[in-house]
Symmetry: C2
Subunit: 758 residues, 2 copies
């Protein structure tokens, strides 16, 4: 393919909310080549989509089958080890006196060099540190810009697993996870363009503020950095949501803001955003740059969970657990949320719209917190902008997960660079709840400890650059729980169900817990060849899509558990329906029990929310790309601000047995509620058995109420399941419904599937 | 008193090992005055001893009774609220061309201003940041230097307790503790002098090194700072213990040192020290400054305790505990040690000799680790120099203890300054094992959390200035135990003895545990007026000296517990003897059980070693100033590198009951041991009952061996106690001996003392 020179033109590239004179930006047309070695010249050039990923360009040009169907992802594996070159040609644009031409890329994944007309201008490791290269003095009439991208970083060639990523600040998930195929993105993954800039230019602008004790005043300090700013005047204004200017500051960088409207998560108030505008002026007073962004004022702390100071008791006495109670604007809130994972295997193709559909569903699910898990990327700006707008809190992890990241100077220097870039960008967003070093780092399978320099460095970086945001080194902290990830323990000697497991549990926060379910049949048909669809088997596309051997045992399909309760499935539809039912019932159990354990318990975030490609079975609530499973709606109900809830002891009940359940009213509402009445009944087919009616007392804001235990001898039904229904008089929006497996005396299920793990 | 001008003269003030041309130093003669307000002029001047404390000067001049006798310490209380002025007069010395006259003080406690001839030259808060003031350009012929010292810092006037110190970097102990009277030192507390310095001068010099993985090479990097060093040549040499020069570096700052002799704690090898000499030359090559210090090469890490990665089990799963296993030069060692507290209430009077007598005893006690508790000061240089020489490891805490130190900008700025001074000084010593934020900060009575900015700051400071040393935020960490502090639990519903308490305990480290004992009668006579000596009572000097109401219940005398075992004491001598016996037996139980729990358990450091004044009863092993209690020798025996040991279930046994004990051989020795034979027998008076003989197998280095359980029906003795004796054939140095209370059937003890807490 013959290269053509791009004519420099005015191009709108307003991919970000923050509009920095977008008319000065020009997007580029890129080609891509690859070679087996660093010195080899690419044999051919193919068109590249930027931002994107080299694999997607290769697949398109070479007509690869889609990676998400069957086992085609295996065809892409070789691409992780190639050397890639992006190339673009452009003519020198006309520049006014003093004007500069700057090459900007917000992210290139992962190690790369940049050449202009054959001269190396930059060598960088790290995908989160943006590139901003002033090309002006090197420009010729015709210019060739090249980005040379190294193969995926690996500390060793084998084993081929996530540990290969343990010495780099590259998200580990793409090296293969129990719900992610091995596909390691490479290439330009975020906005990239040429920009004409005045000789004086603000590159970074931060409205640093601290709210006083009673939240009545924000002490604001503006922080500007960029080129040749010394001595130049600037004007900063703050407008409220009506467009009214509420603050104006000329030349100075500090002021007090009285009675700011506070930003709240959506379920506790309004996520109020102001518009901040900074204008740079030249010495004659002419505006030479304008930059706009949203800011929200809130104070976030991690404070001690109620009752946690009373532990431990007795001697010898160890320390109390670390705090896991989020307090926002002085109010302790119960965090209901989920673990967010990359919504795409290739982050280059994530758009604002893609984020928006998932975040809209998160609000619909009554979530107020997203844990952005450290195995994946730190999301693009539009993610945080949308969270700011929608009132979703973000627990942001650094890209460390399940590895032992070393006390090694080179790694630490890259981590320092990358974390500074991440913190300086994300700290501007009111949705940021707190920082976290990464996932499960203080667990045996990772092997890091409090002494690991990487985590001490991240703590130090966050303290220096964003002291007002809490920092935790990892999750789980002591007193927080991760797991289980199945409805019933996989240990054949244990087999404990989620109901009794959660009743025994006593944690400050449940920050990961999973319930697997198969994807819906429609989704399965798009990823598994027709001939493999029924019955599911290991060694087929089912396994590639994580139905088998994904975690331990027969995860994630867990057909044996499903059929243990409901008998052998006669069709894919039946298996899927029963599996999805169990997911929903299991998740409801955990979310509602975590809420009952409030205020000692302060958080419940399931593993996981979304997925980066369509799995056949997974703990996710949403199938790729944005298709809620039935479990999503179960969780949505369990996370309503107010609901009638019941605590159960087990899932399967037998005819004649005394069924029992503890009644509760749960409220996370920031306001009081009047008294009311709950009725509980059992329903099997058309048979209804009322058990109890409970008159609950008026409820204080954000406080639950425990009720009586309802008991009932189970009648004879000819069914394999029944429902428990809680009805709240005059408040059907508080009603709840649970399904249980039922064993009539007269019927024996035929168990043709073997008991798991035996 | 009429002031006299000090004639400048050559004075040797070689208080420190590091000899920086000591002939250039001149000590000063100081007077002291005080006033009730800052503006008031002192009414009179009294002689001051420097270093010292204002209280000691006042007491001497005004003939106060000694603070350690009876309750005279109360007479000193008013002094904490006065404003003090130190004053000295001196004539301008002759200075060679370019020479500077610098006022140096290594420590002034706590907030102060310095004036020369009426002009304020410095205002400082913080006792750990040395002062180095160039006076040259301000000198007159006759000069007056004044140091104005503010009253003791207090966040509020009431309550009068340690919380008053919660917003300052002043050790909290002097505000009153359960073994420390309220006496808050103020004034010049470390070496202070005038020094003639060349115009170019090295003020700080650090031999920074990192040992490689197999310890065969040290990568050395010299760090110099001072005045006008740019362009001047310097020579660094390193000499071994024989005086042989092994390294020489001219002008450069980096080199590799192959096969350095390693520094070891005394029980694991030789605490090898090299002599480092830095010489500063002028441009003509003439030596203008020589500075000498000792350095040792060792690598220290905190690594995971053996077995700790296997915990916790099951789901939900929280994190594994933080590491508490010290590894030095690649070898995991069991730390046997103690909690070091200020050896004087007024640190200004601590001398090298005072440190030496206590540190000599620490080595005698077979201790290898001192936890320098955060309630007290960071010790003077001579402390660390002696630890370096003697091979004692130092767990160094910052001056934070049992308070909630705030997220407050002023406090944090002083903490940053003080911690930098502390780290830069102490990091040079091979005896430094690790840093710790302070004492019991993550416990309910302190109220700090992992989010506290002070602790995040200290972590960050240590990482920046001394990344090769571990840092822990506080003690206890999760998995470490503090307490109990009594032989038998004080809760009347519990009363659990140390024997069963320790048998149940499962901790990575026992970093505080106490056993109270009264001081010996000779000591008691020096502090308690004769008429109060017998019987001890609350509300007397006994209480002032911590025998009553010190901690909880009847601590620290615990007469009820003592008499519960041995009956009502008929004399002071009997009470003291029984109390001291119980201390020793309790301490042996804990040290030996902690060692039996090796390798999961890695440390045992009792509370506490020494004391800053003579207490009547305390957990200390050593009475003030350096008088070992019998418990000291019990601990010394329990900490021998090799010993026969037994595990017991309780303290008091009854005639006819089956006595039993589990036999062990304990070894922390870094080398293997041959097989041997242990015999166990019971001894009461002249009656000896052999029980069992055990042939133990050859023992691997640093590994214990569990033996059989010895059982024996207890015969009828007419005694209230018996001994258990373990004899190791051919190795009497491994023998052990324990004492137990005995209850013959025929005798009933008369209980005239009430049962505690009822």
């Amino acid at each position: 393919m013959k290269p053509t020179f791009l004519i420099f033109m005015i191009a709108i590239s307003n991919l970000s909310l923050k509009s920095v004179n977008p008319e000065n930006r020009t997007s580029l047309k890129w080609d891509l080549g690859y070679a087996k070695t660093a010195s080899e010249i690419p044999a051919k050039w193919i068109p590249a989509v930027v931002p994107g990923a080299v694999q997607l360009d290769m697949a398109k040009a070479e007509k690869y089958e889609p990676y998400f169907f069957a086992e085609h992802w295996k065809d892409y594996l070789w691409m992780e080890d190639q050397f890639y070159t992006y190339r673009t040609l452009f003519l020198k644009p006309e520049l006014n006196s003093g004007e500069r031409l700057v090459f900007v890329s917000k992210g290139i994944d992962y190690q790369f060099k940049i050449f202009l007309n054959g001269e190396e201008l930059l060598s960088q490791e790290g995908m989160f540190t943006p590139v901003s290269l002033d090309l002006t003095d090197k420009l010729k009439k015709q210019n060739e810009l090249k980005i040379f991208v190294f193969p995926a970083p690996k500390i060793y060639p084998k084993p081929v697993d996530r540990t290969q990523a343990s010495h780099s600040v590259k998200p580990a998930v793409s090296y293969g996870w129990d719900w992610h195929p091995r596909l390691i993105p490479l290439g330009i993954w975020d906005e990239t363009y040429l920009e004409k800039r005045p000789s004086s230019f603000i590159e970074d602008f931060h409205v640093n503020y601290t709210l006083n004790q009673d939240l009545s005043k924000a002490e604001i300090k503006l922080e500007l950095s960029g080129q040749n700013l010394k001595g130049l005047p600037f004007i900063w204004t703050l407008k409220d949501e009506t467009g009214q200017e509420v603050l104006k500051l000329e030349g100075k960088t500090e002021l007090s803001f009285s009675n700011p409207q506070l930003w709240w998560p959506h379920d506790h108030g309004k996520p109020y955003l102001y518009t901040s505008t900074i204008q740079l002026l030249d010495t004659s007073g002419k505006v030479i740059q304008t930059s706009e962004s949203k800011i929200g004022f809130r104070r976030i702390r991690l404070v001690m969970n109620e009752g946690a100071w009373n532990e431990p008791e007795g001697f010898p006495k160890t320390r109390s657990v670390p705090p896991a109670q989020l307090e926002i604007n002085g109010r302790k809130i119960f965090c209901k949320g989920t673990n967010w994972v990359n919504p795409e295997i290739f982050p280059g193709i994530i758009t604002r719209e893609r984020y928006n559909e998932l975040l809209r569903l998160a609000v619909e699910a009554n979530f107020n917190l997203l844990r952005v898990w450290g195995g994946g990327i730190v999301n693009k700006e539009s993610f945080f902008e949308l969270c700011d707008e929608k009132g979703l809190l973000v627990w942001q992890e650094f890209p460390l997960a399940c590895n032992n990241y070393p006390d090694e100077p080179h790694y630490l220097s890259i981590l320092k660079q990358e974390s500074a870039s991440i913190i300086n960008r994300v700290r501007k967003h009111p949705s940021l709840a707190f920082w976290c070093g990464g996932n499960e780092l203080f667990s045996a399978w990772s092997g890091m400890t409090d002494q690991s320099l990487a985590l001490r460095l991240l703590n130090s970086q966050c303290l220096e650059l964003d002291p007002n945001s809490p920092f935790i080194p990892t999750s789980p902290l002591m007193g927080m729980g991760h797991g289980n990830y199945v409805f019933r323990d996989l240990d054949p000697k244990n087999k404990e169900e989620v109901f009794s497991n959660m009743a025994r549990a006593h944690y400050t926060a449940y920050t990961e817990f999973g319930m697997p379910a198969p994807a819906s049949v429609e989704v399965l048909k798009t990823i598994i060849p027709k001939e493999e669809l029924w019955a599911p088997k290991p060694g087929t596309s089912w396994e590639s899509h994580h139905a088998y051997k994904a975690w331990v045992g027969n995860t994630w399909l867990c057909q044996d558990i499903i059929e243990d309760y409901f008998g052998v499935s006669s069709s894919l539809e039946e298996l899927v329906a029963n599996g999805q039912l169990i997911q929903g019932e299991g998740y409801k159990c955990i979310y509602e029990e975590a809420r009952r354990q409030k205020p000692y318990c302060s958080m419940a975030t399931n593993w996981c929310y979304d997925e980066p490609w369509p799995t056949a079975a997974n703990n996710s609530l949403i199938s790729y790309p944005s298709i809620p499973k039935p479990g999503f709606y179960a969780v949505k109900n369990a996370c309503r601000p107010v609901l009638a809830s019941a605590k159960f002891s087990k899932f399967k009940w037998t005819e004649g047995e005394t069924f029992f359940a503890d009644l509760w009213m749960l409220s996370d509402l920031p306001s009081d509620l009047p008294a009311g009445k709950v009725k509980i009944k059992l329903v099997a087919g058309t048979s209804e058995v009322p058990i109890l009616s409970w008159d609950y007392n008026p409820m204080k804001a954000n406080v639950n109420q425990a009720g009586p235990t309802a008991r009932c001898k189970l009648p004879a039904w000819s069914t394999d399941r029944f429902k428990v229904i809680l009805e709240v008089e005059d408040h059907p929006e508080y009603n709840s419904e649970y399904t249980f497996a039922y064993q009539p005396r007269s019927v024996e299920f035929k168990r043709t599937t073997p008991v798991m793990n035996q």
